[in-house]
């Protein structure tokens, strides 16, 4: 009998007592088919406990460990020593663990400190493409396994939302990389920009989706759009019904899908009730994955390995983009009000530029201010 195509119901699992306590019964029952590890989120720790390393090795040995980077800041205009260090660390980990793939986020990090800030989008320009493609090649060279990028939850305009999938694909093409399609991020955009699912999903390169994320989030009031609430990807609550529906609708459209991952932050899993809910969410995801897997008839058609190698080169940078990012970060983190942020932006180097700040939705600039300040410290 032919083996079923691999498709794993997975958990984003970090060194977090609350998260591990919530997931432990699932691990014990053998239901967690793969792990995703945010390998760069332990930068503060000198030593990782052996029991956690052994857990990672067990999944890695079965080809079921994937790495999810957070802090690389793929689209920073300036190449930093911290990024070089990040790559060196990834290279060491890739020798230690056999990752099935490595992923990072779209965007650049606000904040001057490498580990404080939030990822935000940048204009989809030739400069961004050149820098992003160069950085993705460097990630591949460090880990020597398939490399992917996650769609961002945040956007300033509907036009940006609609072009996101295509730009992700352009970034990924040279490394033959893949997309992590975060369905809660997509849900945020469907809600915040009032775009229909069928219209938006058709704009994504679904044959490049190797991993799907599902998670929960939260609603926030907006002074700029009092009649609507803003959906944010805070990963601190149960998976909404709508996201399960998106999962059911989207899996059949992704012929190279291999991992479906439930993400939740540990700080939201302190109470027993939230842990029970986490396991119920996993159970529902597991059922949907099993049903989809049973219907699968074809094996993946893309191994997501690059078909070329690259000679050593200097890291791509752009000083103009870097200055704009510094200005934007400073405004988002320090402007005393929305009105002042607007005034500062209009007087900045971002005005009348590729950033198109004149078209930014007021409620999304307001949200960017909240996000940048949340992660500033």
């Amino acid at each position: 009998m032919e083996a079923a195509p691999p498709l794993y119901a997975s958990v984003a699992c970090n060194l977090d007592a609350d998260l591990l306590a919530a997931a432990y019964p699932l691990l014990e029952e053998g239901r967690v088919e793969a792990l995703e590890w945010s390998f760069d989120a332990l930068y503060w720790a000198e030593q990782v406990p052996e029991w956690f390393t052994n857990l990672l090795h067990t999944y890695a040995g079965a080809g079921r460990l994937v790495g999810h980077g957070v802090f690389f800041s793929l689209l920073s205009g300036k190449w930093s020593p911290e990024q070089q260090q990040w790559l060196a660390h990834l290279g060491q980990l890739a020798e230690q663990f056999r990752f099935d793939h490595i992923t990072e986020h779209f965007g650049f990090f606000t904040g001057q400190n490498f580990h404080h800030g939030a990822p935000l989008p940048i204009p989809y320009t030739a400069t961004a493409l050149r820098i992003g493609q160069d950085r993705l090649r460097r990630i591949y060279d460090a880990c020597c396994c398939p490399v992917g990028l996650e769609n961002l939850a945040f956007a300033y305009t509907l036009d940006e939302v609609k072009r996101h999938g295509n730009f992700l694909e352009e970034l990924l093409l040279p490394v033959n990389g893949f997309v992590i399609l975060d369905l809660h991020n997509l849900y945020c955009q469907l809600h915040n920009f009032g775009v229909p699912y069928d219209e938006l999903i058709a704009l994504y390169p679904l044959e490049r989706v190797r991993e799907i994320h599902i998670s929960g989030g939260s609603w926030h009031d907006s002074e700029q759009a009092p009649s609507q609430r803003i959906r944010r990807d805070t990963h601190d609550d149960a998976v909404p019904e709508e996201v399960f529906q998106l999962l059911e609708l989207t899996m059949p459209r992704c012929p190279n899908l291999k991992f479906v991952v439930l993400e939740q932050l540990g700080h939201a899993l302190h109470a027993e009730a939230s842990r029970t809910q986490f396991r119920e969410d996993f159970g529902r995801m597991e059922s949907l994955v099993a049903r989809h897997r049973a219907a699968l008839r074809t094996l993946p058609t893309n191994d997501f390995r690059p078909q070329q190698t690259w000679p050593p080169s200097t890291a791509a940078e752009d000083e103009h983009l870097h200055r704009q990012q510094r200005q934007l970060s400073d405004i988002l983190e320090n402007a005393p009000s929305y009105a002042e942020a607007q005034r500062l932006l209009q007087a900045s180097g971002l005005a009348h530029s590729d950033w198109r700040i004149e078209q930014w939705e007021p409620h999304m600039l307001e949200t960017a201010l909240h996000i940048a300040r949340k992660w500033k410290t």
């Binding site: 060194l15 591990l20 720790a45 939030a118 700080h267």
Partner: protein, 49 residues
């Protein structure tokens, strides 16, 4: 995926004796360099937004 009993047992012991969270550590010795001895309250990895 079935996990070896030894791995599961070690996780359980680790969880019991170490009240760690990935972002607020008490048991894992922090690095002293980079002025970053305090780990973030949670991770923008997932909580972006």
């Amino acid at each position: 995926m079935k996990l070896p009993k030894a791995v599961l047992g070690a996780v359980l012991v680790g969880l019991t004796i170490q009240t760690t969270t990935s972002c607020v550590k008490e048991d894992v010795k922090p690095k002293e360099e980079k002025g970053s001895t305090k780990a973030p309250a949670n991770c923008p990895a997932c909580g972006m937004g």
